[in-house]
Symmetry: C2
Subunit: 662 residues, 2 copies
């Protein structure tokens, strides 16, 4: 597909060039090149301000009623609705760029974290591609008068002789299948073994089939998120992902966050309902995965059936895990925040009403505490953080931010209650990262006119978390707001004005927006945002110092969660959300929970390491650390009261920074 | 009760004296004293031959229409219906004893095996009174802001700190109870732990109750027999038996032996039916046990409920175990006789539909092979055979006889198909050991008149196994039959006559019997009996020689099963059923299966030893031992072709033995 191909877009007069995927808008191309184009309407062709002139090459679209036929023939295009479809050279005219000196159109190029990708070869090379559940083929000597050992004993002896598998136990339902399975193909059979998570537990013989079915051994890996449920169908022999599917967690109809779910679960029958809902989502996901997977190749071909699924590995936060297991979550939301359990014994998927056969084992990621759950543990495993030498900060930002600091030798964790600002909550025009959300932004320093980039190239409806981060950082860098988040009331632009919640900046006028009003960001919004980032930064700093280090000792940052993939790292450091490190030392792992679940499903070594990691991890309850409150107050500045913690930002902010500090 | 008291009965003119329980008949007293009294009718006062004269003391009853009022006043009593109710001296008149010289009334005194009784003190002294399932009381620090460990982790830490219990796992249903149980009595709680059968398995936390309930921990021990189901209710804290109950195995309606049960189980739904039937019997037994048990004493009083039963230990033969577990038994009856399994994983009683709570563990005795089952293993454990230094023969005689030979160092076993002769099957007037069965017998050597002793002092209806043994031995010792089991056709008595199945001896004439015909034993009966005893003796001798010993190396015999308590040891050795050893080296353990089950329920050490015993035990398939057939043929003589194997019997039989041998 052309959308996956990269094209070169050359911008004049700055001469900057960018490589960008086909199908992207020219606004995004400009942003990627670090070029500001006025674009209030966010990419719907409404305001007509974002004109560029096509000099060479091809552009798709870019024609609107804001553009006369003459202009169009002269090469003018609306950058927001013009999409990249080949190499091109365009001029950003003065009208758009409002040139004020040679640097006028230069805006910061975004640095996003490098994507960490899981490669099965890494497991192979490390010799740890051994799924917890394996199928082995046995050819046994048929019973005879001189060898009339019991059927079960014959299999156990065969496993010992042929595979050096010892210490096997089985269950009554399997014993009930042994007699027939042994004889249906003359003592040639396939056994499914679930290996233990530690040496103090036995290997379980969980299934038995006549004949050789070793080539058909499949597993599922799931992330059970508060919002979404994601699943992978895996070939446990090759490690390949055969299908992937995500869907909303049906529990959403009972509230968006874990607290409302817990409250609902406290109603009579509420807990059962919550379990049913999430299991419904998992079952529906499995349906999709099986329907969309291609028939497996190899000797035994054909559609993958439920019966061929040997394991399902699941990771979720502590509340999701409790609700899935049918455990009372109420103490999770009540001080002193005690979960029922952090470890989950090996269970059968069928015991959770997951529509899988009796033999399928369900492996659940253990949690650390009420607010550092299995999703985070999975992320620590999946990202490889627990094996690195570097002092690493792992952070998953959502309503709560979970923080882990450490390396292969030690690990410490905590959860910060950031509030919903990063998900658009508590912000006047905040919204989730959906179509119409301003996700990127730049400012013409001379005119203070905005370039809004929205999701889906639509008229702006509001601001999502990553947009908010860039907007605040940009306003700060351009000294439109000061380090306490207050607007410079001296600036001469209609976009800055007093409003009901202090001063505000108009991102899009009513007629440019998709909403019924101007889209603004005001001082109360910024204050809420600062509180959110302060909670996270204070959490990180407190944790670092509790383990006897300084913030400067952090050598690497791993971002997880949906938010992490979109945030502009410079902005995040400018406003003091993340500690300052070189952007190339930041890694994004995406859905860390799914990643860990996936890797555990393919490597019993990793699954075994989980237990060790959980035991090694020191959990801090920040509210109980005396220093945390002071850290939080000190963080209620942009980027921080102590600008020395952010030397690069301090340099950029220059005199004004010092001024605000005074 | 007077029946439990012992009285002295003095017999004239022989001067013999015996101590006997009140309530017994004078016929039994005479037998116990080794005195013959003619008594064809077996104790119903019909034949009127068994007169004795009361010289001194008291006698209850003994009056019938065979006795004139004058005779009664003169002290005459019918010995069969006169019961002991105090010390007494009686004369056995010539008419009854048919005195022929001074020794005429002397018959062998019976030697029965000494009863082995289980004493909980033995376990205490050995330091192994530690039931597999224990209750422990925990007082835990309540959760607080500085100690907000998960509920499950708090319990596990408490078990480690307070009881040094480590490596605990639990299950989802228990996790579901933890939150409430911890808080209902402020973090004071009772946990029930099921300890593992070996160190490669973890301890299971199977129940949790708020408060201290350690004083109420109960267990069940069961023998699942082909005919009967026996159960004990045990206090796991004191080791006391609180109730005992036995009932028929409901499967009886589908046939009396394991083979007919297996055949029924092969019908559609037959296997399920068989499981339902035996579980019904177990459930009914539990009902009785709970209803009849006295309320437990101690701090927490009150009726014992199902919820307080922590474990049920069961032992049965391989077929009964398969049927209880719902496993296909069909290969047990088909060469090469392969059971589905010999070991049974730990299961929940509720999984077998036994009406016990979810947490109750069911511990099943492992089997050795298709015909040496968990009942025999339990007997080996319960009798202590596996701990003795003496070379021991353990034997359980029924339709099949199971034989174990060995000591603490080695064990070997085999099963012999004896046929039903010892249970009265295949014998013209054979019957089970029920009322009216001739269970003991002696012969007046001069007149060849019988003294029949029947169960329940009733007119004879037939012959049970122990009676048959004594009859054949007595006929042999009196040279009424020869060593090949043929009658001496020269003897002048109407009781010996040709019949449809060779010659026969009339035990009771029609009018003396409770049947509609004469009760006889004929040459075909004796032949069947000889085949049965030959199979067993040949099994024992083969097994002994397979392990490199001679029959004379046996130092001890342990008898198990109902039959064992009744057999006269001298008779058993006279006819060559048991090897000749001194009767005081024979021990009777009764229901060995129940005994072993009982001991395992109270001692996890013994339960752990079971695994070792089963692994150490060498199982022989007699049909596959070339020597067995010859041994069997050599045993088809009374007592054996090689009389040197039975020196005492040889001496008793004297010249006639030599004669037959020639």
């Amino acid at each position: 597909m052309s959308q996956e191909q990269l094209y070169k877009i050359h911008f004049l007069p700055s001469g900057r060039e960018v490589e960008i995927q086909g199908g992207q808008s020219f606004i995004k191309a400009a942003q990627a090149a670090g070029i500001h184009i006025n674009a209030s309407c966010g990419g719907a062709g409404v305001c007509g301000k974002c004109r560029v002139i096509l000099e060479k090459g091809t552009v798709e679209g870019g024609r609107s009623d804001k553009l006369s036929p003459e202009d169009y023939r002269a090469g003018y295009r609306q950058a927001c609705i013009a999409t990249v479809s080949g190499d091109a050279t365009v001029t950003v005219p003065e009208m758009s760029s409002l040139k004020t000196g040679g640097l006028s159109t230069a805006v910061p190029v975004r640095h996003r974290a490098a994507m960490h990708r899981f490669d099965i070869q890494d497991l192979r090379k490390a010799g740890i591609f051994v799924p917890p559940v394996v199928k082995l083929f046995l050819e046994l000597p048929p019973a005879s008068a001189l060898d009339n050992m019991a059927d079960a004993g014959r299999i156990i002896l065969g496993l010992s002789n042929q595979y050096d598998e010892r210490g096997i136990v089985t269950s009554l339902p399997i014993l009930g299948k042994i007699r027939k399975a042994l004889r249906d193909d003359n003592f040639r059979l396939t056994v499914t073994l679930a290996h233990p998570v530690n040496s103090k537990t036995k290997t379980h013989l969980i299934n038995i089939q006549p004949g050789n079915w070793t080539s058909r051994n499949f597993g599922l890996a799931f992330d059970i998120g508060t919002t979404t449920v994601y699943g992978l169908l895996l070939d446990l022999n090759t490690g390949k992902v055969l299908a992937r599917h995500g869907d909303y967690n049906s529990q959403l109809s009972y509230g968006e966050d874990v607290i409302t779910r817990i409250i609902h679960a406290e109603n009579p029958a509420g807990q059962e309902q919550m379990q049913e809902m999430v299991v419904k989502s998992i079952n529906s996901c499995i349906d999709h995965l099986l329907a969309s997977a291609k028939p497996a190749a190899g000797k035994k071909k054909g559609k993958i059936t439920r019966d061929e699924i040997s394991s399902i590995t699941l990771a979720g936060n502590t509340t999701m895990t409790h609700l899935l297991l049918g455990l009372e979550p109420d103490n999770i939301r009540r001080s002193p925040y005690v979960p029922v359990t952090t470890f989950v014994p090996p269970i059968r998927a069928a015991d959770l009403n997951i529509k899988l056969p009796h033999h399928t084992v369900a492996l659940l990621y253990p949690s650390i505490s009420s607010y550092v759950g299995g999703d985070i543990v999975a992320g620590v495993m999946g990202s490889g953080m627990y094996r690195t030498d570097k002092v690493t900060l792992y952070i998953d930002i959502g309503t709560n931010a979970e923080i882990v600091i450490g390396n292969r030798e030690w690990l410490a964790c905590a959860a910060c209650s950031a509030g919903p600002a990063f998900e658009g909550g508590g912000i006047t025009h905040g919204m989730r990262a959906a179509n119409g959300a301003i996700e990127d932004f730049s400012l013409n320093p001379a005119t203070l006119e905005p370039m809004n980039i929205t999701i889906g190239n639509q008229q702006p409806l509001g601001i999502c978390g990553s947009g908010l981060l860039v907007i605040v950082a940009t306003l700060l860098e351009n000294q439109v707001i000061d380090r306490s988040g207050k607007f410079n009331r001296q600036l001469d632009t209609p976009r800055i004005r007093p409003g009901r919640s202090g001063y505000e900046y108009v991102l899009a006028w009513k007629d440019e927006s998709g909403a019924h009003s101007d889209i603004v960001i005001n001082e109360v919004d910024i204050d809420n945002f600062i509180r959110a980032k302060a909670a996270i930064y204070a959490g990180v700093k407190t944790l670092v110092e509790e383990v006897g280090l300084a913030i400067g000792d952090l050598e690497q940052i791993i971002l997880a969660g949906a938010f992490g993939s979109y945030i502009d790292l410079d902005s995040a450091m400018t406003i003091g959300l993340l500690p300052e490190v070189s952007p190339d030392k930041v890694i994004y792992v995406g859905n860390g929970s799914l990643l860990g679940s996936w890797m555990s499903a393919l490597s019993n070594h990793i699954r075994q390491d989980v237990v060790d990691v959980v035991h090694r991890m020191t959990s801090f309850e920040l509210s109980e650390v005396p220093d945390f409150k002071d850290q939080y107050v000190a963080s209620l500045f942009l980027p921080h009261t102590d600008i020395a913690l952010f030397p690069a930002t301090g340099k950029r902010l220059g005199a004004s920074a010092t001024e605000t500090k005074a």
